[in-house]
């Protein structure tokens, strides 16, 4: 197991957002987490990415306890994430955004007197990811001038530029037009293969995307794991159909 949550419970004041959730992320798999609003998906994501500390239970990444270690340490360990609400650097260009990720990955951020422009490894690494995500033709555009879909793509691309071992994508196609969703997912999967990702975890509401790309699906409901299995088993689970997907979504 690369990433494992075991008996995780998270309580906010008197409200229990997650109650005894266990989850394994295995080598080479594309795992989707689904659930209705309030099921605890966001809390689980924040626990898996070390932003929150569980009230009970453990979260381990590569056999290391990552409870509450924070995003900086986690990125260095090899777990990257993207956000549901798009996060970019408005006054940085596409290429600069990707360069920042490559600089961070190579541990060159504290090179005060080195030339960024003259660092061929950083330049090539950033350009490679821009090309991989189809952003090369907009490399000099400021992030704030991009369309919402391209901002989302840049947000995800910058996480890939870290060359993580595991990536956690929170609604990677939200804000992307329905027509472009499949294209975005194809790019993500291809990029994952190219950089040798060990696993992809996504939280997603679009069931076409979930069933089209997942090796395994974990359904959450009211802070508990309702079902955990391959897409065919999830599609056939009556409780998941009633409480999470809906009869039409399964079709």
């Amino acid at each position: 197991m690369i990433l494992r949550a075991e008996g995780v419970r998270k309580v906010y004041g008197g409200f229990c957002a997650l109650d005894g959730v266990s989850l394994d992320v295995r080598e080479g798999e594309f795992l989707s987490i689904i659930g209705p609003n309030g099921a605890g998906k966001s809390t689980l994501v924040n626990l898996l990415t070390g932003v929150l500390r569980p009230t009970e239970g453990t979260v381990r990444f590569k056999d290391r306890d990552i409870a509450g270690i924070g995003p900086v340490a986690l990125a260095r360990l090899g777990l990257a994430r993207s956000f549901q609400l798009v996060q970019v650097f408005p006054d940085l260009t596409v290429l600069e955004t990707l360069q920042a990720a490559v600089v961070s990955r190579l541990g060159r951020g504290l090179r005060l007197f080195a030339s960024l422009r003259g660092d061929r490894e950083v330049q090539a690494g950033a350009l490679e990811v821009a090309e991989l995500f189809g952003l090369a033709d907009r490399r000099d555009a400021l992030a704030r001038h991009l369309s919402q879909g391209d901002k989302k793509l840049l947000d995800v691309a910058s996480a890939f530029a870290l060359r993580p071992e595991v990536i956690l994508l929170d609604e990677p196609t939200s804000g992307v037009s329905t027509a472009d969703k499949t294209a975005v997912m194809e790019i993500l999967v291809a990029a994952g293969r190219r950089i040798g990702l060990r696993a992809i975890v996504q939280v997603e509401h679009d069931m076409d995307i979930v069933f089209g790309y997942s090796d395994r699906i974990v359904a959450l409901h009211q802070g508990r794991v309702l079902a955990d299995g391959p897409p065919a088993a999830i599609r056939a689970d009556e409780r998941v159909l009633d409480m999470v997907i809906g009869r039409r979504g399964a079709g």
Binding site: E96, G109, S115, L116
Partner: protein, 316 residues
């Protein structure tokens, strides 16, 4: 290319000023060059990292008093030693102050820096035996590049060797800062300024990088502060007072914090405008308040923003 031509021309004009401009205006260039060094550093924090310090006069004061202390309490006169000592003491003071301040942002960061600045101001005022209290301390004429110019008339010293020495320090400081902001470090600072949450998920520690920016900006402020002392021959606690910090922020806004040389232009305009307004009306702060309000409302990009916009419009 165009930028290089403009910069070369501007540097040449400043270098030629003592030959073509009256001594009075040449002497006004001395505080301009000192403040320009201060502002290059402040803008690393303000324009590139997104933190507005209202206490940077603390570090200007450290630099100025370092020069005063060394020249009046020891036998050392070398300005190179003074500048190095000022830089070292600025960094030494900024390390713990920065470690506390950079854990906060926006108004909380600003207020904390203001508070530390006022603590230092009070120290300068009350520790009379060490600092001379409200009378301050004398700054004896420093040697330049090992040369004792004590026999030269003060005006000739300031408008000649000291002028070019200050220009040399400014050019060197600008070149180093240019390298810093165009380095991987500079890029990481801009990610923190734009979106610290996103920067951290990319592995860029906001606190760590802000701290480095704070220390570097303090070194620049201290070096600039050390250059302020010799022209007046005296330093006093007002150098560390909060209104002085306000003036520094004003210069940055006036010139434009979004541009590398914006604060330098701001320092130049501030110094000459202040001199002009003070010679015309007694209430110069009233005029400057109006100017500041006009800049914030009508030209948030500062004078450099206006120039760049005009340049683009002319080129289009």
């Amino acid at each position: 290319m165009k930028r290089a031509v403009v910069l070369t021309a501007a540097t040449a004009a400043v270098a030629a000023a003592p030959l073509v401009v009256g001594t009075y205006y040449v002497l006004l260039m001395l505080p301009f060059m000192a403040y320009a060094v201060v502002l290059l550093g402040l803008n690393l924090l303000f324009g590139y990292t997104g933190l507005v310090s209202f206490g940077h006069a603390l570090f200007v004061g450290i630099g100025a008093y370092t020069g005063a202390f060394i020249t009046s309490r020891t036998t050392i006169r070398s300005l190179e030693v003074i500048l190095l000592a000022a830089a070292a003491l600025g960094a030494l003071a900024a390390a713990p102050v920065g470690a506390i301040c950079v854990r906060h942002v926006k108004i909380y960061f600003g207020m904390l820096t203001l508070a530390f600045g006022m603590v230092f101001y009070t120290f300068l005022l009350k520790f009379y035996r060490l600092t001379g209290g409200d009378e301050g301390m004398p700054v004896l004429r420093p040697f330049l590049l090992g040369r004792d110019l004590g026999a030269t008339a003060k005006i000739d010293y300031l408008a000649g060797p000291y002028y070019y020495y200050s220009l040399g320090v400014l050019v060197l400081a600008a070149a180093v800062m240019w390298r810093i902001v165009h380095s991987p470090f500079g890029l990481c600072l801009r990610t923190i300024r734009d979106n610290p949450l996103k920067a951290e998920t990319l592995g860029v520690s906001a606190i760590r990088y802000r701290w480095w920016a704070f220390v570097i900006s303090a070194v620049y402020a201290a070096v600039g502060g050390a250059l302020l002392g010799p022209p007046t021959g005296n330093v006093d606690p007002t150098l560390a007072y909060w209104t002085h910090s306000g003036n520094i922020v004003f210069m940055t806004l006036l010139g434009g914090f979004a541009h590398f040389f914006g604060p330098v232009l701001g320092a130049l305009v501030f110094i000459y405008l202040q001199d002009f307004v003070m010679s015309v009306v007694p209430y110069w702060r009233l005029v400057f308040g109006a100017v500041l309000a006009a800049v914030v409302i009508f030209a948030p990009g500062g004078l450099m923003g206006l120039l760049v916009r005009r340049g683009r419009a002319a080129g289009a």
